[in-house]
Amino acid sequence: MKLIRKRRPEDAGAGTESVGMDRREFLRRSSLSAGAAAVAGLSPGMMRHAHADEASGNDPRPEVETEIRRSICTHCSVGCGVIAEIQNGVWTGQEPDLESPISLGAHCAKGAAVRAHGRGEKRVRYPMKLVDGQWRRVSWEQAIEEIGNQMLEIRERSGPDSVFWCGSSKASNEVAYLQRKFAAFWGTNNCDHQARICHSTTVAGVANTWGYGAMTNSYNDMHNCKSMIFIGSNAAEAHPVSMQHVLRGKENGAKMIVVDPRFTRTAAHADQFIRIRPGTDVPFTWGLLWHVFENGWEDQQFINQRVYAMDDIRAEVAQWPPDVVEDVTGVSPGEMYEAARTMAENRPGTLVWCMGGTQSHIGNNNTRAYCVFQLALGNIGVPGGGANIFRGHDNVQGATDVGPNSHTLPGYYGLSESSWRHWARVWEVDYEWLRSRFDTSRQYDTGAGEQDDIMHMEGIPVSRWIDGILEDRRNIAQKDNFHAIFFQGHAVNSQTRGVEMKQALEQVDLVVVSDPYPTHLAVMSERQNNTYLLPTATQFEQAGSVTASNRSLQWREPLIEPLFESKPDAEILYLLARKFGFAEPLFKNITVDNGVPRSEDLLREINRGAWSIGYTGQSPERLKLHAEHRGTFNTTTLRAEGGPCDGDVYGLPWPCWGPPEMGHPGTHILYNTSLPVADGGLPFRARFGVQRQGQNLLADGSWTQDSELEDGYPEFTYRMLQDLGWDQDLTEQERQTIERIARATDGSSSEQSGEAGPQSHASGTLSEVNWKTDLSGGIQRVAIEHGCAPYGNAKARCIVWQYPDPVPVHREPLYTPRFDLVSRYPTYEDRKTFWRLPTRYASIQQAGDHSREYPLNFISGRLVEYEGGGEETRSVDLLAELQQEMFVEIHPADANDRAIDDGQWVWLEGAEGGRILIKAMVTRRVGRGVIWTPFHFGGWFQGEDLLARYPEGAAPYIRGEACNTATTYGYDSVTQMQESKATLCQITAA
């Protein structure tokens, strides 16, 4: 009998609580049954939730007045509208948000279930601490007092870098921004969030190719595609509502190609499905480009005008003829040719990628290769084209832009002194005071052969926090190991090396979890004491803005009051800041209402500082106006047609230049030269200098519409305005602000995304104040008035000379099934200090052929019902019911080799020895030699259900093994992204 994936075998007790049988099982049985008895005799457990529902009183009542409130779904980055019906403060109903130009009323399973968040059945209800292995209720005062005292003591003893502050991609822009600012005031760069393990390689790779590391077009714009290629993206499960736009594009005639090791639900809708070996994205992309160059399909005019160093790519691509590509990727020459021709003949075409490409130790090479492919075809800067990078969490884009990143300040300003000075001005605090908050006792190894103040060094990223605890202190480039960790809105089961994570947790002094749910973090270790749970409100209980994948900002109003004793994230940070004694400077320009910092004020502060990416025009007032009139926006162009937002792009996608009063409409499609900058047009950014080795890096004969400078030009400074005679256009007030900045500081700020070298500016003069540091916005305004982009007009670059691999090249994964290829495509040498930590490459890959013991390729991905670490969605009955078990997909041949039956318990052992006990699902969805697991499960550890370790009543309905208990070492050579989409394992019958 063929079993479908979601079948729940009859004997499964695994990970379920008070569940008798799932719906599908029930239906399956009842439809097969011949007699009445077969549908009777179900477990009494199956009715329990109905009773829980009734008791909670969340049913709508006809006699009670209903209030309609609006928010944005808190699951993925599509940004679907949520309409809530509220009766007496209780969330009683949900309606489709038909006016949302992004979702048009649609939801996936997760979005259709959000009302359940209003019940919060499995929430942490009050602050708790672990005392001798038991959870004890404590008051908020006691919790903050005890946590605060310990942290201050740790800070005193081991320095401010000994606390790891993990923020969240699920927080609003305002809270994410506050998390970054909070870490700065505490005195450390050891703060990070989910983007590190999601799209950090995208952000770094893409920004270093053409300026900004974000989705260039939008979901809606996919109506305009003539072709689309998805590489390592399963949108049908990860971004379901995006498929509305994708399939509309397909109906409009677009050809759709899906490239994945797994035949996904997205692949089921494709015109062509290509199965590749995990971790071979660069050879695949160069293999496509080989056909493009071979047949002269490249857009030579576009390349001449707007692309630098394509010839270096040609040389590398020549190394990838069809037979070599087939050997490395497993894709036949015919398939490669067909895909290349489809993309060449059907332009504009878009390239979508997700974590299949990013989560690799050469993730930055993968993302740059994708960009180069699109540049070669001239697919960037046009409707229907673009690099449509689908981000993960609902606000991972916003938290990347302005939130807690260990390598930048808000707005990608980097960590140089001038960047700190810029933000000190915005925050209105003294730079020297800020500096004194950091460990200034000595300088540390930057990893680039230099010593520097720790304030200017990247912090330890979230992918490596366990090494911040476990690594020998002498090997870490900071004063001491981590002694406390604070996680606000983050699921640790999404990070690799679970076995070592448990060890790290048992070693660290203090653990604080600020979350609506206990999370896997609270239960996975055998800690007995000094662990705190702080009940934190969900985003449905808070106001704030959220940035969708397409860079549009949407405003959320709170739907209900925080449940139980929960507090909003910002209030918790406020309480801690007060305890630490820096609440006053931290909230200097922020109104605090009854302990809750006001979101609108936080957004206005972001508006005043984030000039580099145009987060300046999106005032709370404009965002609220867009929310109110969202029905006036065109669903393809995202432009308002009439009404009070006429001409604006929905959600003012960044860059939205200048102050809000300038009324910039936002930028729907990045690098579109057919529009004036004032109307959302842009060239590629001049970010990498003006010349290199005698070659011009600025654009040649290409400029945005109505530009007064009809050629390439560098980024705008005050001096450039003077040279052009445009400084006369500045208002007196603007000039005064610019003069004040020049006087007060040494001038410029160098923005850097990730690791590309900061631009060096001469400092200390008026003329060097630039478009990023001018707090008046005058330089931006005048440049745009003359039709110019504040950031200059340059070429996109195909090589990043600061990176370990200037030209993106292939390197075999650390744990490769093709050890024979390691000599030809080896990884990097080990590094002594990289993001403060020793980082291993060759010593793992070349230690021997790991595939002898662990022959199966191990990859992971998403299920539509759950999101991220899954703690929240597995705690929602409506969703939990549909996915009750952790499982592994295995090809029939691999199952037969191991005498494994469908539905059988198996042990999956990762190449570093982590073992998980899960159910086998035998399916041809995966290819031979490849296995796949979902990554949303938690609450089990190496065969043991951790139910007893949860606070009473707070365990999710569904628990299961976290796949990352069995994943392995491996980190991107630029961003420290984990290599979780190409590792090895073995499976045996349990």
Partner: protein, 203 residues
């Protein structure tokens, strides 16, 4: 007069289960019972297709034809509903239904079925519209509020269409035309006795 119908466009259905959850959420259906479900054919292999299925509100509904106590009634626009006061839980409708729609949520020991429960096209049942009694026994009555079934209204890709058959056919055929393919109208002929291309079909 409108004739309400469901159609699931298999080319657009991505098996995201939004319809299932929207239904359970809107109608507060207990854990373990499904008025709607998504079925996948050729799961994990080329040719994989998903469709969302619930009561199709058939013309000449077989459930009504076999019901020994005649608890079924049909609204003027073709929505098939039933009265749980009369239903004896015999299960004949379950065997007659080509779509497996009838469910029996009130299970007891020794094989006694409770009242039948099924998709109401979000039109509730005989009690007063949008009363507590109607909600608790039959679920939401969106039709009385001028709205359409929650499953279709929230469908992630607008694969599931619910509304007047002619309007549904109009949208669907436009899509088919755009795709230049053949219509793949799963269940339509079975439920409504006529193909989609016949215009102005009788209800």
């Amino acid at each position: 007069m409108a004739r309400m119908k469901f159609l699931c466009d298999a080319e657009r259905c991505i098996e995201c289960n939004a319809c299932v959850v929207a239904c359970n959420n809107e109608n507060d259906v207990p854990w373990g019972i499904n008025r709607r479900r998504v079925l996948t054919l050729n799961d994990g292999e080329p040719g994989e297709k998903s469709i969302s299925v619930a009561c199709m509100h058939c013309t000449d509904a077989p459930c009504a034809a076999v019901c020994p106590v005649d608890c079924f009634y049909t609204t003027t626009d073709g929505i098939v509903l039933h009265d749980k006061d009369i239903c004896i839980g015999c299960g004949y409708c379950f065997y007659a239904c080509p779509f497996g729609a009838p469910q029996f949520p009130e299970q007891e020991a020794f094989g006694v079925r409770g009242k039948m429960d099924k998709c109401t096209f979000c039109a509730g049942g005989p009690p007063e519209d949008n009363s507590v009694e109607e909600y608790e026994r039959y679920g939401a009555n969106r039709i009385a509020e001028g709205k359409l079934p929650a499953c279709a209204e929230m469908c992630s890709t607008k694969a599931l269409l619910a509304g007047d058959g002619e309007l549904v056919a109009d949208i669907y055929l436009t899509r088919v035309l755009k795709r230049s393919g053949r219509p793949d109208t799963w269940g339509w002929q079975k439920a409504y006795g006529a193909g989609l291309t016949v215009s102005g079909e009788a209800s």
